[in-house]
């Protein structure tokens, strides 16, 4: 099971990378955006498995994007590794502070407070003329270890890095979820009192998850900023966070691959819906979500589980 899952993830990564490089520009662009969002949703899923739904992951998504934008535009740092390092550091520091407050709350309070913090950032960015206010600003092309591929190659570079990140962080997240501190999330969701009486710190378990989720969201934001070449405050707006929750519900929380696959499907669905119904595309998304919640309350991943169960029954 373990090696199979890893192999699956690896093959998925290679397929996406190969596909992305061969596909027309607009499609590989969407793929990269989906990878970025998939990472944000992966973090969200870690929290959701502990019973906490954040409606504010846009905060870290936006932080990751703005760090990338500001470094390339104002500090002339274009190295993608340095940019990633910076956005992870900044998001972790912010999450470590906000988390001290937030991780004491549960349910609707956690959801609303997390949303409030993202809206604070939105409000700040809208007022900042130097950062382009509501329009945001452009992000320069990234480089890697001194190699600057130029405007054409830059998106391929970001795609390759995004796929690498998705695969490696997916594996780490998978191992994390199967370790004590990762799996303790289910314990928090099920019974906090019992966990405390076992000598476990519920706060610590949640706090760590919150910080990991923030870092993943920031990485996702950085990827998005670098591939789209633009950032704006909308990334911190609550609808962006809502979209992440949407994707998470769509994929389900049963496996680390679920949010990534869901993000790809979501981007495809959105593009398709927008093309066929430019004015009512949100409605199509709404119906899609409704259908999933009604028929697959555990998300699209339950299809995979159904398939696995069938296979298991056949072999026994």
């Amino acid at each position: 099971m373990k090696t199979k899952s890893l192999a699956l993830l690896f093959i998925l990564g290679l397929a996406i990378l190969a596909g992305g490089l061969l596909l027309p520009q607009w499609m590989s662009y969407l793929f990269t955006i989906a990878m970025g969002k998939g990472l944000v949703v992966l973090g969200l899923v870690l929290l959701m498995r502990a019973g906490l739904v954040s409606f504010g992951q846009g905060l870290y998504y936006c932080v990751g994007a703005y760090v990338a934008g500001m470094l390339t535009q104002f500090a002339e740092v274009t190295d993608i590794l340095l940019i990633l390092l910076a956005s992870i550091s900044v998001s972790v520091v912010i999450a470590a502070i906000i988390g001290l407050l937030l991780c004491r709350y549960r349910e609707i309070f956690f959801a609303m407070f997390s949303m409030a913090f993202s809206m604070i950032l939105y409000g700040l960015l809208v007022r900042m003329q130097v950062l382009g206010s509501t329009d945001g600003f452009n992000v320069a092309n990234p480089s890697l270890l001194g190699w600057a591929p130029g405007p054409e190659g830059a998106s391929d570079l970001v795609l390759a890095v995004a796929v690498f990140l998705v695969v490696s962080l997916g594996i780490l997240a998978w191992r994390y979820l199967n370790s004590l501190s990762g799996y303790a999330g289910e314990a928090v969701r099920e019974n906090e009192i019992r966990l405390e009486y076992l000598g476990g710190s519920v706060f610590k378990v949640v706090y760590v998850k919150y910080i990991i989720a923030a870092a993943l969201a920031a990485i996702g934001g950085t990827v998005t900023a670098l591939v789209s070449g633009h950032v704006d405050p909308e990334m911190a707006y609550w609808t962006t966070s809502g979209e992440f929750v949407f994707i998470a519900l769509m994929g389900g929380t049963a496996h680390v691959a679920a949010p990534i696959i869901a993000a790809v499907l979501f981007e495809a669905l959105r593009t398709y819906a927008f093309a066929v119904a430019p004015y009512t595309w949100q409605m199509i998304l709404g119906f899609a979500l409704l259908a999933i919640i009604l028929f697959m309350p555990s998300g699209l991943w339950s299809l995979v589980e159904r398939f696995q169960n069938k296979k298991a029954r056949k072999t026994t």
Binding site: S179, G182, L198, G200, K204
Partner: protein, 265 residues
């Protein structure tokens, strides 16, 4: 040597209700104490205070001479006080094995690992050994919420016992368990408790069970300790029989007396 547990003028009120007052109890290693008292007498309140779940309104609680006032359940449990609950507190939607593995991780290994697999063969083997000891091994892969009360109670106790607490407080371990299974359950629990030399308190409404397992009895009435002493002595006390047991107990046989449950559903 200070006592393992000592409460001094312990008191707790809930608004106008006095759930505990003037409670002075001392407990030492190896003692097995039955706690009796009718509904609302303050038994659970006492356990809740001693385990940090609620704070007393007055008085002090000393565990090995150190006050635990103001400490959280987590801190109290790390100080070596374990408990089980009147209604088993478990990770309902997880399997018995996963419950046990989490319990092992937090109360035995005590290292919040990030990448080491929780379900290693070695850890599973250890968890199963404990399940075997409590005779619930056949439920290893079952989801807790689907299990009968008795199994849940045993799992609850097994998880609490993992850290080898010096003091173990069992709140009605046999409630919700069929009469014919009560003794089997208590035999299993007591075997584990005796092995660890923990001081044990168990809340129990069934006097047969109290007679069989307790060396000492603590009788609560209306938030106070009505009597505290050797089992036979306390249970034959007319005041206890009138106010707590609710009827006359025949203690003359060596076999457990035939009693009804003390006015309790």
């Amino acid at each position: 040597m200070s006592a393992l547990l000592k409460t001094v003028n312990l008191e707790r009120t809930f608004g106008a209700v006095t759930a505990a007052t003037d409670i002075n109890v001392e407990l030492n290693s190896g003692e097995i104490v039955g706690v009796i008292g009718s509904n609302g007498a303050g038994k659970t309140t006492f356990i809740n205070m001693v385990t940090g779940y609620i704070q007393p309104s007055g008085g002090d609680i000393l565990v090995r001479g150190e006050s635990i006032i103001g400490k959280s359940p987590r801190e109290v449990s790390l100080a070596g006080v374990g408990r089980s609950f009147q209604v088993a507190q478990l990770f309902q939607e997880l399997t018995v094995l996963d419950n046990m593995l989490i319990a092992f991780g937090f109360s035995v290994d005590r290292k919040l690992s990030f990448l080491n697999p929780l379900r290693s063969a070695e850890k599973i083997e250890k968890a199963q050994a404990v399940l075997r000891e409590y005779e619930i091994e056949q439920y290893t892969d079952e989801v807790v919420s689907t299990l009968p009360q008795g199994v849940r109670k045993l799992l609850d106790i097994a998880m609490a016992m993992l850290s080898n607490p010096g003091l173990m407080l069992l709140d009605e371990p046999t409630s919700g368990v069929a009469i014919e299974d009560k003794f089997t359950l208590m035999d299993t629990v007591m075997a584990a408790v005796r092995k660890s030399d923990a001081a044990t308190m168990f809340v129990e409404h069934d006097m047969e069970v109290v007679l069989r397992y307790a060396d000492r009895v603590l009788a609560f009435y209306d938030g106070r300790v009505l009597a505290d002493g050797p089992t036979q002595k306390v249970l034959s006390d007319p005041k206890v029989q009138e106010l707590v047991v609710g009827h006359h107990l025949d203690l003359s046989d060596s076999a457990p007396a035939t009693t009804k449950e003390s006015g309790h559903a």
